[in-house]
Amino acid sequence: MNKCVERLKNGIITENPTFVMMLGMCPTLAVTASAGNGLGMGLTTTAVLVLSNAIISLLRKIIPDKVRMPAYIVIVASLVTIVQFMLQAYLPALNKSLGIYIPLIVVNCIILGRAEAYASKNDVVSSVFDGIGMGIGFTIGLTLIGIFRELLGAGKVFGVDIMPKAFEPISIFVMAPGAFFVLAGLTAVQNRLKLKGASNTSDAECSGNCASCKISDCGYDKKESVNEEKGE
């Protein structure tokens, strides 16, 4: 039981995927124009993450080591397709506003990263809790950024007017550039407070895919990181 609580805390605080690991930046920037979208994307990713962690953990002794990456990709892609069907059926409005970013959950670093780093080595129960923790951490990250952007850009939070009438919405914040500015502000605050994070450990930026991320210990094999160093 203790281990499960530890996994939850790890996902939400210690290794928070958005603020500490800086993984899954594409959806983080793309769908956070409103808090509701951020929350929806976070929960969708959580659902996929929990299921994929559970299935990969169950199959960890069956999947041969050499083909594990393609196997994981197939599992995750199938789950994403199922989740997409569910959204189309029950939450068509959310499905429409998230659009292409739902199928793109397949290439979200967090999911393959957790599969490789945790679920493939641990039992089902703790993998599920790892997925829940990471998913909640990601959801909190997206919702917070969404709240910031919606508040500054439209004066609302979750579609409810919050700001006084005199407040003139700064609409740039709900447009594309606002995503970069809000994230820049948040990482700068993180740097200022000297919090542990991917942005202030030198050279730890994700360089193209999770495989070469030094911060997440997911990855195909060492070959790629060697390649990458040669390229620099």
Partner: protein, 199 residues
């Protein structure tokens, strides 16, 4: 011809893949420290996305659609892209060592670049393959893929150029590293909004 031009300008500049669609953010932030590296990455991305647009749209038009399996497109596309990148790497290594030397190091980084899968899915979503002749649909998809990748290259090369200059500037301590890069990206995104009146 006119539609192709609209697709080219629309995907490369107006709906820039990085700055307005947020696909491929990771390489955009990670491999943009030097202009030469950024250009190499851009070239590799153009190569892979153009090729994958051709193959995925052909697969969609000739196999998935006739068999009514279009709902499987995410699974099929990601597997095809992963295999394609590996294959391209092997072929280049064997037959064109010079090209492999300049592009090879970037190829493994592209597999999970979400722009590649994103473009393949957008080609389908834009409905290029739904009406009219299949050949024209595939040509449109390839044009869209090429233009998107070109947009990525434009963005990442400009970004690298700016970052080389930023190196020598006095940046507030807390903004060093990722934050200043994100601010730069935001300013670039504002500049690219200027293109939105073109079409």
């Amino acid at each position: 011809m006119k539609t192709l031009l609209v697709i080219l300008i629309g995907s490369a500049l107006v709906n820039n893949v990085v700055l307005s669609q947020f696909l491929g953010i990771c390489p955009f932030l990670g491999v943009s420290k030097k202009t030469s590296t950024a250009a190499g990455m851009g070239a590799a991305v153009i190569f892979v996305i153009t090729l994958s647009s051709l193959i995925t749209s052909a697969l969609y038009a000739f196999i998935l659609k006739p068999l009514d399996l279009t709902y499987l497109n995410t699974i099929v596309f990601i597997l095809v892209i992963a295999a394609l990148v590996q294959l391209v790497e092997m072929i280049l290594k064997k037959y064109s060592p010079a090209l492999y030397k300049s592009l090879g190091v970037y190829l493994p980084l592209i597999t999970t670049n979400c722009a590649v899968l994103g473009v393949a899915l957008l080609n389908v979503q834009n409905g290029y393959l739904d009406k009219g002749s299949v050949a024209i649909g595939i040509i449109k998809s390839v044009a869209n893929g090429f233009a998107t990748a070109l947009g990525f290259t434009i963005a990442i090369v400009i970004m690298a150029g700016i970052r080389e200059r930023i190196e020598y500037n006095d940046i507030p301590q807390s903004f060093k590293g990722t934050p200043i890069v994100l601010i730069t990206a935001g300013l670039m995104a504002i500049a690219f909004i200027g293109f939105s009146g073109i079409i």
